[in-house]
């Protein structure tokens, strides 16, 4: 009797399998993932390109994360912490997601992370580099497909160390601006000609440029995301300063903003974890398919979105589709064994990527339009400055 029942059950399972395509061990028959991006508002562009990368990865996975049917939900934080909280709540309670990816800004991440982690939902940041989640508040359910805020300016500091004398620092007067300056000076040990903190959202920099020209620094390092950076670079070029004082940036120039800059970005040097010229097959495929799907060159933010989906896939596969086996999912994700456009990387104990950083430069391409080339590898396997404060070990 018992054997008969088992046989029936097995037969039933066999019959079901081709219909649903799920491994029979799965308790949940589908993976539910949320993309919680800052998609609207003036700074919605950052969230949009992360989402595009994420969706390209879903295409590459055949629409199935870990081979399971996948329900994909998009929610918009509008880059506002309070809206982010509501949307995260909705994703967890209403859509009952297993994974959430997204979040552009540190202040939004700070507002939403607890809801996800307390409910044992895996949260993968596709941008926000809030350092607290790298250090004391590191969490088994939190991963980063991006970087810690300080990492990129650290790479720029390292790249300029010994190369230039007398650097002028220019950043907006808020927490991330100060993080960037301290990240830069952690590796750049030369002389600092001066530091200007300008108002967040400032669009006219002529006064700062006059001041800088009078001080005659050897070089400039600036962090100015979004419209601030575009205005700054345009005005820097218009003032003719680029001819005498080279400008180095973090989070200003990328394929995201290249069209808006036009030729005024040529000569700009900046750091990034992604080498767009890399010929590793994953990167070539990523760039080609992204161009095909969206009709434009992918950005580093798209890489971050792309990898988040691949990490989810990796986790679900490692758990053999058993979505309640969080330990197995986590263990899978920790191997970081994905075909990332950035090349191979590992996770540190705090789930931040240990990855390379490159010095890149904007040059005129064959058609005269600006394009980005990689000059050198600044860091190999760089670890963020906060991982020692994280008590998680594995």
């Amino acid at each position: 009797m018992k054997i008969k029942l088992l046989a029936f059950a097995a037969l039933g399972a066999l019959m079901l399998q081709p219909l649903t395509g799920t491994p029979s061990v799965a308790q949940d028959k589908e993976v539910r993932v949320g993309f919680l991006g800052g998609l609207s508002g003036g700074r919605g562009i950052f969230g949009k390109v992360q989402k595009e990368g994420f969706e390209l990865a879903l295409d590459h996975l055949g629409g199935k994360i870990g081979g399971l049917p996948t329900k994909y939900v998009v929610a918009d934080t509008q880059n506002k912490p309070d809206v982010g909280r509501q949307q995260m709540d909705k994703l967890i309670k209403q859509d009952k997601v297993h994974f959430v990816a997204g979040i552009t800004w540190s202040n939004v991440l700070a507002a939403v992370y607890k809801q996800a982690l307390d409910n044992k939902v895996f949260l993968i940041s596709t941008n926000a580099g809030w350092s607290q989640l790298s250090g004391k508040r590191c969490n088994p359910y939190f991963f980063r497909a991006s970087w810690n805020n300080d990492d990129t300016p650290e790479a720029m500091g390292q790249a300029l160390q010994g190369q230039v004398e007398n650097v002028w620092l220019l950043a907006p007067n808020y927490q991330a601006g100060k993080d960037m300056v301290s990240g830069f000076t952690r590796y750049y040990k030369g002389k600092i000609a001066g530091t200007t903190f300008f108002k967040l959202g400032q669009t006219d920099f002529q006064a700062e440029l006059s001041q800088i020209r009078a001080a005659k620094p050897g070089s400039i390092f600036t962090f100015a995301p979004g419209g601030m950076g575009i205005a700054l670079i345009k005005q820097y070029k218009a003032a003719g300063l680029d001819k005498t004082i080279p400008i180095n940036t973090a989070f200003v120039v990328d394929y995201l903003t290249l069209a808006a800059f036009g030729k005024s970005a040529i000569g700009n040097r900046h750091a990034s974890f992604w080498d767009p010229t890399s010929i590793n097959p994953a990167n070539v495929r990523f760039i080609e398919d992204y161009k095909k799907k969206y009709g434009k060159h992918p950005t580093m933010y798209s890489v971050q979105g792309y990898d988040a989906a691949l990490l989810m896939d990796l986790g679900v596969r490692a758990a053999k589709g058993n979505l309640s086996d969080h330990d197995a999912i986590r263990a899978g994700m920790r191997t970081a064994n994905i075909n990332s456009p950035r090349g191979g990387f590992q996770f540190n104990n705090n789930h931040n990527p240990i990855q390379n950083y490159y010095l890149r430069e904007v040059v005129a391409g064959k058609d005269g339009n600006p394009t980005i080339v990689t000059r050198k590898t600044v860091f190999r396997g760089h670890k963020d400055a906060y991982h020692t404060q994280c008590s998680m070990t594995w």
Binding site: G44, F197, Q211, T257
Partner: protein, 307 residues
């Protein structure tokens, strides 16, 4: 800080001031003459910049873009006036604020639907791309001098239009007594549309002039709108002369304050505090100035006789 740098910063301040005037001229006209609070002025500024970017991409010429900005921004202004403001003239200011605030949201999202969320390209016109040495060893961008020129030209045109022409006379009459001018057989409705179209044109022109130096993106007009209101409140609502004077005062105050304050504070406070608190206080300077002016002259520096 050398005398030369102080002089250069003063020029920067005047330039920034004239730029502010370009933005606030249309706003003060509409508010002073039509008695309409138009929060959508910043959105019209943004549309001017988007139009400029598109026209330059099509034609490759800044000058043709300028010629096309005139009809496009005026028509846009007239459509807005006819659809949203005309029914609200007799209503409370609060209703106008609500309606035009709605327009801000509409246009900020609208440009993203039409142009996408990416910031739009806008090169500096070749003719003005160079630098001249006004002060030794400190090349100054020609385009910034061009902005000063255009701003002063706009001031002259408005003065001539309002003070010396028949239309200007009717506008002034309409502003001081709407009932009377209607009784005398003047089409006040047409006059209002004309003034609003004119205001929209100045906003569009400011957008065109700003596009090569700032980022053309959704929401770019919001910050400018606040500055424009500070200008017209200090200058006296409705007074074009007041707007010009206030703009230049604010420009110089802001730029010189912004560049000197952190340095001055370093002499008193530790570097760390001066570097952070300096810019924070500097960004409040113009609002402190506004509070000061309003305390002594609640009507602004040049109270308009009309309205």
């Amino acid at each position: 800080m050398s005398t030369l740098l102080v002089l250069e910063q003063t020029l920067n301040g005047i330039q920034f001031g004239v730029f502010l005037f370009l933005i606030s001229a249309g706003l003060t006209l509409v508010l002073g003459i039509m008695n309409v609070v138009n929060l959508a002025h910043g959105a019209l500024f943004m549309m001017g910049a988007y139009f400029a970017s598109t026209f330059v991409a099509w034609t490759g010429s800044f000058f043709i873009a300028f010629l096309l900005i005139i009809p496009s921004s005026v028509i846009l202004g007239i459509i807005i006036e006819m659809l949203t403001l005309r029914p609200l003239y007799l209503r409370d200011h609060m209703d106008q604020v609500l309606a035009t605030f709605g327009l801000i949201l509409f246009f900020n999202e609208g440009v993203k639907l039409v142009w996408g969320v990416d910031p739009q390209p806008m090169p500096t016109p070749e003719l003005f791309a160079g630098n001249v040495e006004i002060f030794p060893d400190a090349p100054y961008p020609v385009f910034r001098l061009f902005i000063i020129g255009v701003g002063l030209l706009v001031a002259a045109v408005i003065y001539f239009l309002i003070a010396k022409t028949k239309v200007g006379m009717l506008i002034r009459a309409g502003a001081s007594n709407t009932q009377m001018i209607r009784a005398m057989g003047v089409n006040i409705r047409f006059l209002n549309t004309f003034v609003f179209g004119l205001g929209a044109f100045f906003a569009g022109l400011a957008g065109l002039m700003a596009a090569p130096i700032i980022s053309v993106e959704s929401g770019m007009g919001d910050e400018m709108l606040i500055l424009a209101f500070v200008v017209i409140v200090i200058g006296g609502i409705g007074s074009v002369r007041g707007a010009l004077v206030a703009s230049v005062i604010i420009g110089v105050f802001e730029v010189v304050g912004r560049s000197m304050l952190p340095i001055a504070m370093q002499k008193i406070f530790p570097l760390e505090i001066a570097q952070t608190a300096g810019p924070a206080i500097a960004s409040m300077l113009i609002y402190i100035l506004m509070a000061g002016v309003l305390f002594f002259k609640p009507q602004g520096l040049f109270p308009a006789r009309t309205g």
